[in-house]
C-alpha cells in the first residue's frame, strides 16, 4: 500500500487556515460573549463586575423575555409550513411544466436577491398606508373594502410579517427542491409508467419519497432561518403593535444596543442559543428515527 501514506499526509495543513479564522472570529467571540453574560458590562465591554448567573436569573423572571420567546416560536411555527410547501409546489410546477424554466426561476428567486432592509421598506409601502397602499387598492378593485390595519392590528401584524418573509425567501427553498427533483433518476418514472401509475400516483409514490432528504434539509434550514427572525420586524413594526411581533433577538438588541446592558443582553442571547441547539437536536433525532424506520 504505497498510497496509504498519502491519505494521512498534510491533513492538518488543509484544515488549519480555515480553523484559524474560525477560532478567531467565531469561537473566541462566542467565549467572550459567555464571559460578558456573567458580568454587568456596558456596551464597550469594560467596567463591569462579575455577577455570576444574576443576568440569567433576571432574564428568566422577565415576562417580556417570555413573550418575545413565544413570538419567535409562534413566527417559526407560522412561517415554516407555508415556506416549505410553497417552495415544493413551485418546484413541482416548474419541473413538470417544462416550459419557460428561466421565467419561473427568475421571478420566484428574484426577491431573495434583495437586502432585508429594502424588502421591509417595499412591503411597508405596499401594505402600510391603508388608503393608498397597493394591497388595499387591489382588494378594493375586486370589491373588498378591507381597511385592515395590516401592521397595526394585533390579529394581522404577525401574519403580514409571515407574508413578507414568504415572498422574500421562498425562492431559496424552491431552488433546493428544483435541484432535488432534477436529481431523481428518470428510469423510476419510466418504470412507474410501465406499471400503469397515473400522474398523481407517480407524485405520491415516486417523487415525494425521493424528495425526503431534500425536505429534511429544507426544513432544518428553514427552522434555523425562522428562529433568527429580526430584520423584517425591526423595519416594519419595531416589534409592535403592543410588542405582539417582537422576537427574542429584538429583545436582545433593545437591551444590549439601546439599553446599553451588554451583559444582560448576552445572557438573553445565550438562552436563545440554547433553544436553537435544543430544537436542532430534536430535529436531528426526529430525522434519524425516521431514517431508521425507513431502513427496516
Amino acid at each position: 500500500m504505497r498510497t496509504r501514506r498519502h491519505w494521512t499526509e498534510h491533513g492538518l495543513a488543509f484544515v488549519a487556515p480555515f480553523f484559524a479564522f474560525y477560532a478567531l472570529f467565531l469561537l473566541w467571540p462566542l467565549a467572550l460573549g459567555l464571559k460578558m453574560s456573567l458580568g454587568s458590562d456596558n456596551i464597550t465591554g469594560q467596567g463591569g463586575e462579575f455577577v455570576g448567573f444574576d443576568n440569567y436569573a433576571e432574564a428568566l423572571k422577565d415576562p417580556d423575555m417570555w413573550s418575545s420567546l413565544w413570538n419567535t416560536l409562534w413566527f417559526t411555527a407560522l412561517s415554516t409550513v407555508p415556506l416549505v410547501l410553497t417552495g415544493l409546489a413551485m418546484a413541482l410546477i416548474a419541473h413538470h411544466l417544462r416550459f419557460a424554466d428561466w421565467l419561473w426561476r427568475l421571478s420566484w428567486f428574484a426577491p431573495f436577491l434583495l437586502p432585508s432592509g429594502v424588502v421591509g421598506l417595499l412591503w411597508l409601502w405596499i401594505i402600510y398606508p391603508s388608503d393608498f397602499g397597493l394591497a388595499d387598492q387591489l382588494l378594493d378593485t375586486v370589491g373588498l373594502h378591507p381597511g385592515i390595519g395590516w401592521l397595526t392590528d394585533e390579529r394581522y401584524a404577525m401574519l403580514s410579517i409571515v407574508g413578507t418573509t414568504l415572498w422574500w425567501t421562498v425562492g431559496f427553498n424552491f431552488l433546493l427542491y428544483l435541484a432535488g427533483l432534477q436529481a431523481i433518476p428518470r428510469h423510476l418514472y419510466e418504470a412507474a409508467e410501465l406499471d400503469g401509475a397515473n400522474a398523481w400516483q407517480r407524485l405520491r409514490r415516486v417523487t415525494l419519497p425521493m424528495l425526503r432528504r431534500t425536505t429534511g434539509v429544507v426544513v432544518i434550514l428553514q427552522l434555523l432561518a425562522s428562529l433568527k427572525i429580526f430584520d423584517q420586524v425591526y423595519i416594519m413594526t419595531r416589534g409592535g403593535p403592543d410588542e405582539s411581533t417582537r422576537p427574542l433577538l429584538l429583545y436582545v438588541y433593545e437591551h444590549g444596543f439601546t439599553g446599553y446592558r451588554i451583559g444582560y443582553a448576552s445572557a438573553a442571547s445565550y438562552l436563545f442559543f440554547a433553544l436553537i441547539v435544543l430544537i436542532s437536536l430534536l430535529q436531528l433525532r426526529f430525522t434519524r428515527r425516521a431514517r431508521q424506520e425507513n431502513a427496516v
Partner: protein, 286 residues
C-alpha cells in the same frame, strides 16, 4: 434568453388540459411575485409627490428619473457599489478557498484531532450571528479594524455551513481518481488543486454564488463596523440616506431598484449553473 429545458430528454410534452392548468397556476404565482417589484419600479419613475395620489396609478403624469438623480446626489453611490463589490469578491474568494481546503482535509485525510475539530465546526452552524455581534465589535475595536475593509471582511470568512456542504461533496468523489495520481507521483496539494478542485466546479460555483449574495446583502455587521460614509457598503449607505428623505417613496423605491439590479443580472446569467450546482452538492439530497 433561451428557454431550453434542463431535462435529459429534450422532447416537450403536449399541451394537455392538465398542463394548461399548471401553466395558469405558474403564471398566477409569477405575477404575485413580480407585482411588488414592478410596483416599486413604477413608483420610482413618478414625479415628486405623485406617489401618494389616490386612486393609485401605475404611471404618473410623466415618467421621470428625478428620484434616481436625487438618490445619486444624496449619497456616494459609485463608491458604495465599488465597496460592496470589493468586499463581496474578496470575502467570496477567501470563503471558497478556505472552506474547500478545510472540507478536503476533513473528508479525505486523517490526522489527530480531526473528529474534534470537525465537531466544533459543525456545532458552529447553529450559532446565530446576532449572538456574536457585541463581542465581535469589542474585538474589532481592540484590533483597530473598525472602519476598514478587513474589519467587514474577516469575520464573514469562516462559514461552517459551507465546509459542511463541501465535506458532503468530497466524500462522494471516487478515491480511485486520487490514488491514480498518487501512483504517478503527484503530491497531496497537486492532487487537490489539479484533480479535486476542477472536478468540483459546479459545487464551488453554488457555494460562491450564495456567499456572494449573502455578503452583498449583509446589513447588520457592515452597519455596526463602519461609521465613515466613504467605507459603507450599498445596503448600509442606502439606509443611511433613506433616513434623510422621510417618506419620499419615489426615492426609496429608486434605491431599491439600484440595490437589486446588480445581483439580478448575476443571477439571470448564472441561474442554470446555480441549480445544477445545488443538485451536485448533495444539499438537495439524492
Amino acid at each position: 434568453m433561451r428557454s431550453r429545458t434542463d431535462h435529459e430528454s429534450g422532447r416537450r410534452p403536449r399541451w394537455t388540459p392538465g398542463r394548461l392548468a399548471l401553466l395558469l397556476g405558474a403564471l398566477l404565482l409569477a405575477a404575485l411575485w413580480v407585482l411588488p417589484l414592478a410596483y416599486a419600479f413604477a413608483t420610482s419613475l413618478k414625479p415628486q409627490g405623485e406617489e401618494v395620489d389616490t386612486p393609485l396609478t401605475w404611471i404618473g403624469s410623466r415618467i421621470t428619473f428625478e428620484a434616481y438623480e436625487q438618490v445619486w446626489e444624496a449619497g456616494d453611490l459609485p463608491r458604495w457599489i465599488l465597496n460592496t463589490a470589493y468586499v463581496a469578491t474578496v470575502t467570496t474568494a477567501l470563503t471558497v478557498l478556505l472552506s474547500a481546503m478545510a472540507a478536503y482535509g476533513f473528508a479525505r485525510t486523517t490526522f489527530r484531532g480531526r473528529r474534534l475539530l470537525y465537531g466544533l465546526v459543525l456545532a458552529g452552524i447553529m450559532v446565530p450571528p446576532q449572538v456574536l455581534m457585541a463581542p465581535l465589535f469589542a474585538q474589532m475595536l481592540a484590533l483597530g479594524l473598525v472602519d476598514t475593509y478587513w474589519g467587514v471582511i474577516l469575520p464573514q470568512v469562516a462559514v461552517p455551513a459551507m465546509v459542511f456542504i463541501l465535506v458532503k461533496f468530497f466524500e462522494e468523489v471516487p478515491r480511485e481518481l486520487e490514488e491514480a495520481a498518487f501512483c504517478d507521483g503527484a503530491g497531496r496539494w497537486r492532487v487537490f488543486f489539479t484533480i479535486v478542485l476542477p472536478l468540483s466546479r459546479p459545487v464551488l460555483a453554488a457555494v460562491a454564488i450564495f456567499t456572494f449574495i449573502q455578503t452583498w446583502n449583509n446589513f447588520l455587521w457592515p452597519f455596526l463596523v463602519t461609521t465613515d460614509p466613504g467605507g459603507m457598503t450599498l445596503p448600509v449607505g442606502l439606509v443611511n440616506v433613506q433616513s434623510s428623505y422621510g417618506v419620499r417613496y419615489a426615492q426609496v423605491m429608486a434605491s431599491l431598484v439600484i440595490a437589486g439590479l446588480p445581483l439580478l443580472f448575476v443571477f439571470a446569467f448564472f441561474q442554470r449553473q446555480i441549480v445544477r450546482g445545488i443538485a451536485h452538492t448533495g444539499l438537495a439530497g439524492r
